[in-house]
């Protein structure tokens, strides 16, 4: 919408900016839409120039080999025509802003991208729209890159044939903020230290965010929904995950947040809602001298709230809310999770299925919360039995073990200070799902009306006899 508004003021702005730039920064040039014009223009520009694009379509496959600013106004389109990468950057201090980057090639082996770069520190990719590109951007050696407010739409391909919305490799200090990535494969950060990933919205991909060997990242305020995995952090240290929303990430091995060999992690204020598994941790922390704090997160309506590898230890869960998960916490094989802390300094977690009481009204349950479901225990030992999750038979198994203590398995966790009420956790902005209350109302009333009509149909005029015409 801002784009449209901006488009109206183009003539004025164009004149103004062109005039100002002519006076101060050097030559600013606008080009028409003749084929090949853009590359020629970049070739003749001096380092540091601002190349301004007016609305129109420009041929892609261009290479930027000097520090330049490429600014589009009124959404000029750079079209790769389905061949190779649309823009290749091989110089520092390049800024690309306000353009539509469309139709890259679809060769995964060549990593065709909207913007591909190498040795391009301080590249700034701001407010662009990527359409029908294999990779959105693939940046190598782009230290201190700034990727902000881009709209990235991938190709309509089978998910493994797609490219990554954003891939950043060997680029420390990058800032990725406010981008919207849809229909990509992954958003990958490899060997990228000290990056910031904030307020992005990644949906309908495979791995919403994927960190490998990327230390010191701050990941906050992102919304990751309907991916196979919301975010997977691997082999990285000193990470902060705060106030992110992980929703409906439900692939066959789908997790909201997955952790593998992560050391030094703080997870707080996140929402894990309707995922297959909210949080999964394997060998994290891997160092024996480290504790991970997981605090003030909400795990709600997941099939499994938290799933931990059976050897996982030294995670401290405190002040979290576990609300109506199919299984609140489980271990991925037999054995308990007792080497993790489920309450910390007298503050445990809120469990929606806590059946205890709080006689002294201090907000802390007077008896411990334990997870000792026989059905879950059976699933851990015989994974096939997971097929019966949600059946009355599964509930019968649990009920039997509650009734006959001899059947009750060892608890996999104990929270000595369960919170009676859901702790106050500050709200995070979450995109609303489009459900119409009117439609629900209509559907329900329709069902009730149908029931009424059927029942009334039986009562209506039964005076006609059973075999009208058949009896004399």
């Amino acid at each position: 919408m801002t784009g449209l508004r901006r488009a109206k003021t183009i003539p004025v702005l164009t004149a103004l900016v062109a005039g100002l730039l002519a006076l101060s920064a050097g030559p600013a040039t606008a080009v028409g839409s003749e084929p090949g014009g853009l590359q020629t223009l970049i070739d003749v520009a001096e380092p540091g120039d601002v190349v301004k694009l007016e609305p129109g379509t420009y041929d892609g496959g261009i290479t930027i080999d000097k520090p330049l600013t490429l600014v589009g106004q009124g959404w000029p389109v750079i079209d790769g025509h389905g061949e190779g990468s649309v823009i290749t950057v091989v110089a520092p201090d390049v800024t690309i802003r306000g353009v539509v980057i469309a139709n890259s090639g679809n060769r995964l082996d060549q990593e065709n991208a909207g913007i591909t770069s190498d040795l391009s520190p301080r590249i700034r990719i701001i407010e662009n729209r990527f359409q029908n590109v294999l990779f959105g951007m693939f940046l190598r050696h782009a230290h201190d890159a700034e990727i902000r407010d881009n709209e990235i739409g991938g190709m309509d391909l089978f998910i493994a044939r797609r490219g990554d919305g954003i891939r950043i490799w060997q680029s420390s200090g990058a800032v990725v903020e406010g981008n919207h990535v849809a229909n990509g494969r992954d958003s990958v950060f490899w060997f990228a230290d000290g990056i910031t990933v904030r307020n992005n919205h990644v949906e309908d991909g495979r791995y919403g965010l994927h960190f490998m060997y990327s230390d010191g990242a701050v990941v906050e305020g992102n919304v990751l929904e309907r991916n196979s995995v919301g975010a997977f952090l691997m082999y990285s240290t000193d990470l902060t995950m705060a106030d992110n929303v992980f929703r409906s990430n439900r692939g066959p091995s789908g997790y909201g947040l997955g952790l593998k060999d992560v050391d030094g992690l703080a997870v707080s204020g996140n929402r894990f809602v309707e995922n297959r598994v909210g949080l999964y941790a394997d060998n994290s922390p891997s160092r024996v001298d480290l504790y991970h704090h997981l605090e003030s997160n909400v795990f709600a309506f997941n099939n499994i709230g938290v799933l931990l590898g059976s050897t996982v230890a030294r995670n401290i869960f405190t002040g979290n809310a576990f609300i109506d998960n199919g299984v609140q916490v489980a271990s991925d094989s037999t054995g308990g999770l007792l080497d993790n802390e489920w309450s910390y300094r007298g503050v445990g977690n809120h469990w929606s299925d806590f059946a205890g009481f709080d006689a002294d009204s201090d907000g802390i349950g007077d008896i411990a919360y334990e997870i000792d479901n026989l059905f879950t225990d059976l699933v851990e030992r015989y994974p096939e039995i997971a097929f019966f999750t949600g059946t009355p038979a599964a509930q019968a198994v649990d009920m039997a073990s509650q009734t006959f203590p001899s059947l009750r398995p060892e608890p996999i966790l104990t929270d000595d200070s369960p919170l009676i009420r859901i702790p106050a956790i500050p709200p995070v902005p979450m995109p609303a799902e489009a459900t119409s209350r009117v439609l629900v109302l209509l559907a329900s009333l329709g069902l009730l009306l149908a029931a009424l009509v059927v029942m009334a149909g039986g009562r209506f005029r039964l005076s006609e006899q059973l075999v009208t015409g058949g009896t004399p």
Binding site: R247, P252, M430, A443, S444, L448, A450, V454, G469, T471
Partner: protein
């Protein structure tokens, strides 16, 4: 229906006409609407379904607008218990009850064939179950709309349709019981046993087999899905989650092997139970000399 009956019933034996079927079906619906058991079931189902949607809605600031998935899952769990119980007992009690009270003899004195009586009863009970299921899901939807809880109307109607399909399969079994046993109390006892078997014992048996023999996942999937209650659950899980990925190795196997066909298979199982049990009930009722 506009089919007119011109054949005098006394002279030529008839097998099947449409008009007596609709008349009997309407009689059955009318009687269901007078049956206090039917209303008790309906009310119980509607109240429980409404209660699920009332209690399952948490603070939206905390979790955003999600949450209908778990509500719907609870509704599915409720249906697995209540709908088979309702349909089985309704079907089993009906003809056997008529027989006990002597009204069946009276009915069969009329120029109607036994097939027409059974099919008419089936259609009438199916219509009554439709009303019961629609009331329950309508109440659930109404409560969540009034509370502005997130609800997917399409999913609501799909689950209602699947529940009705389950009730058809269970009605078939109920009528089969009804047309083979002599008294209403025997029929009720048998219906309760069948309910126990399809809802609990079947699954518990397969679970035990898995523990004892490590049943292969393919066999596990096959033995589970032929149970109509399980077919309903699996079709509902597909409607809710899009696949069976959350159901462990057997679920993953089913997705891998059948892909999008799982829902079709599950619906096919319920239709097969409906048709086969209905057909066998017709045969049993026709050949039966007990009135």
């Amino acid at each position: 229906m506009t089919a007119t009956v011109t054949t005098p019933g006394f002279s030529t034996p008839r097998v099947f006409e449409l008009r007596p079927v609709t008349v009997i079906a309407r009689k059955v619906v009318r009687e269901a609407s007078r049956d206090r058991w039917f209303w008790l079931y309906c009310a119980g189902f509607a109240v429980l379904a409404g209660a699920i949607t009332m209690t399952a809605v948490p603070d939206q600031n905390l979790i955003g607008s999600g949450g209908f998935g778990r509500t719907a899952a609870s509704l599915v769990a409720l249906v697995q218990l209540v709908v088979p119980l309702m349909a089985l007992t309704l079907g089993a009690r009906y003809l056997a009850g008529e027989r006990d009270s002597g009204t069946l003899v009276f009915l069969l004195c009329h120029p109607v064939s036994r097939t027409e009586v059974l099919v008419g009863t089936y259609v009438g009970l199916a219509a009554s179950m439709f009303a019961a299921v629609s009331t329950g899901f309508g109440a659930a939807g109404l409560f969540s709309a009034l509370r502005s809880a997130p609800t997917d109307p399409v999913l609501l109607i799909r689950l209602a349709a699947l529940s009705w399909l389950l009730s058809l399969a269970m009605l078939g079994l109920g009528l089969l019981i009804s047309s083979t046993v002599k008294s209403a109390s025997t029929a009720l006892g048998m219906a309760l046993f069948v309910w126990l078997a399809v809802v609990f014992l079947g699954d518990l048996g397969v679970m035990g087999t898995v523990v004892a023999t490590r049943l292969p996942v393919g066999a596990l999937f096959a033995t589970v899905i032929i149970n109509p209650v399980e077919a309903f659950r699996l079709a509902s899980v597909v409607a809710l989650d899009g696949s069976l990925d959350a159901l462990g190795p057997a679920g993953t196997y089913a997705v891998d092997r059948f892909g999008d066909g799982i829902a079709t298979i599950a619906v096919g199982v319920m239709v097969a139970w409906t048709v086969i049990s209905g057909a066998v009930a017709v045969l049993a009722f026709r050949s039966g000399d007990q009135t």
